[in-house]
Amino acid sequence: MQCVVTGGNVKVLAKAVHSLSRIGDELYVEPQEDGLALRSVNSSRSAYACFLFAPLFFSRYSIDRGLDFRCKLAVKSVQTVFRSVATLEKTVEKCHVELDKAKDRLTFTLHCKHGLLKTHNLSYQDTESLQAVFDKDSCANVFRAQSRVLVETVVHFPPSVEEVTVAVSSERMWVRNHVEDEAERSKALLTELCLAADEFDHFAVGAPNSITFCLKELRGLLVFAESTGLPVSVYFHEPGSPVVFSVTDSVLEGNFVLATLSDDHNLQKSDSGGGHAEPPPPPPDDFMNDDIDSYLIAMDTSVVPGPSTAPPSAASRASPAADSRTRKHSEEEEEEERDGNEDPGRPPSKKFRSLFFGSVLPPSPQTSTQPVTTQEVLASDSEDEDE
């Protein structure tokens, strides 16, 4: 394999590597006929990302036909090649990527200003193809927005926030931080944003529901999207099946596939409700026409401090004014979450499921409509056994 990247595309390649480094420790490189694929997966296999750079992205792209080559290498070492991303555009004129099978080396050569030549010979390991199972096209909920819209949403959540919940109705999207632990909830800052459909370039909700996923990987993609100015598309179906964030232009495609928390209770509820789609959640706190009384809290302060120690549901019921018009949606959720925690048959904490066949999947067509939930059995270390 030999490929040459020039000009601004060097920075695009570098940014892609940096955003993949937010996912996992290893970078999977696979030269394909339809372009160069760079992939990464996190250790728990709940997040996967892939960039495919079309041959046209390169000023030269040649692969050895018939030779099924793919390898993985430490993403950190590839990051060293593109260490100074900020100045790359100004300093690097050309980047060669070349495979030396004989020496087991992947060589990155940067031709820089002032005649400086940087050569990085990176060692790699052979590997099977890394593929995730996802199908964007069958997703009921599809959105597309300028990266800035999402960046300005994510910015409201401090870096300490690990997971967010996204709920959608036909007109709006709510994003809030997910706090698993009931005890944490009475201490943690809870943030919720409400985005109107108008903020999006495309907003299609076929299945109004809510999903919870990790923010870290999304932040990684947004860095890429922001620097390339590409809009971001979001695809998801239901809790437990993955959410896909995509960026595309004529010469590249990036897909970030993140597992979402499975929400068995949710499913059961809507099933028992006769299978009809849940009505979209009302705007949680509509401050446009709020009425002060509905937000008042009635409380006897002569009682010892912590009303927070009282069970939340009981407390909400003690406040009929609030009950009647606020956040049916979120209250329900609180109960569900509490129920969930009390359920002994359920794993107590994180419920993200593995997304992948890992390296055992044949390299060919990657999309599958098979429900992801059946892939749970795959252990995260299956990849090691292959070697």
Partner: protein, 285 residues
């Protein structure tokens, strides 16, 4: 018990946010007292036990365009909440460009101060963000712990030099030592000293001026006139506590002063137009 406030003016919002950030630098937890006219951030210092104390007072009318509150009863028209100022600060920081910000006491999964803001967007529709900051409601029986501290019976009262200069000096001294000796007299002189095995450093400030706690003032505790103006009062303090105070000062105040009770306590007072902040650092042996 009800509380609801609204800030529209962006300058007021920024100012309020800065005050809260200052408080968040000083303490992890504090008490927010709401009265019809004022907001108070209180850290009831067990100064006697070596802790710091804080009292910050804001006139609500200078910040809020709307402000409605109903206390526990008409007789005790106050609300007393324990808050994490860091959470409040974080919430306010993300809404700095809001069209308006509403702050209200709400009943969510637990009592919260809910900060809701309408943010401008690229599209014609604005975006609403809400932050629920969990609070604990403090029962009336404990309110006495959060009353305004009395001005200590100080030996010397002196204006502070520019806080930035003070911060630079204290930051460096912190690198060199854990304790700092503050000396000051009624002749406008102040010295900061550290002494270790490796080095001794003394910074001399002069012509700082002494606040007129005047004869007409009801302040009995003011320095007696018999005191020799050259006579230094001193207090040795944990540098970190002083550093913490200086770190939080984001804007130069209209007045900043230091009241020293000889070998007992350092009482720092910072006055802005509409905010006053008092900070008590206990002396160590």
């Amino acid at each position: 018990m009800k509380f609801r406030g609204k800030i529209i003016d962006i300058a007021c919002l920024n100012h309020f946010s800065r005050v809260v950030t200052t408080i968040s630098k000083l303490t992890k937890m504090c008490v927010l007292r709401l009265t019809p006219d004022n907001l108070f951030f209180v850290l009831s210092g067990k100064v006697a036990n070596g802790g710091v104390g804080m009292w910050c007072e804001l006139l609500q009318a200078n910040f809020f365009d709307e402000y409605q509150m109903e206390g526990v009863s008409s007789e005790f028209n106050e609300i007393c909440l324990e808050v994490t100022p860091e959470n409040l600060s974080r919430a306010l920081k993300t809404v700095q460009n809001a069209k308006y910000v509403k702050i209200k006491l709400t009943r969510k999964h637990c009592p919260c101060l809910t900060i809701a803001a309408e943010l401008p967007t690229l599209s014609s529709v604005s975006r609403v963000v809400t932050h629920d900051v969990p609070v604990d409601i403090i029962p009336k029986s404990l309110w006495h712990e959060f009353k305004e501290p009395s001005i200590p019976d100080f030996d010397v009262s002196i204006y502070l030099p520019p806080l930035k200069t003070l911060k630079n000096v204290v930051d460096r001294m912190k690198n060199l030592s854990n304790f700092l000796l503050i000396e000051a007299n009624m002749n406008g002189e102040m010295k900061l000293k550290i002494q270790t095995d490796l080095v001794s450093v003394t910074t001399h400030f002069k012509d700082l001026g002494n606040p007129p706690w005047g004869e007409d003032s009801s302040q009995d505790g003011g320095p007696s006139h018999s005191r020799d103006p050259e006579d230094m009062a001193e207090a040795r303090v944990d540098i970190r506590k002083l550093q913490q105070f200086l770190m939080g000062q984001q804007v130069n105040p209209s007045k900043a002063m230091c009241n020293l009770v000889h070998r007992n306590v350092v009482h720092l007072v910072v006055l802005h137009e509409d905010v006053s902040l008092q900070y008590f650092v206990p002396a160590v042996a």
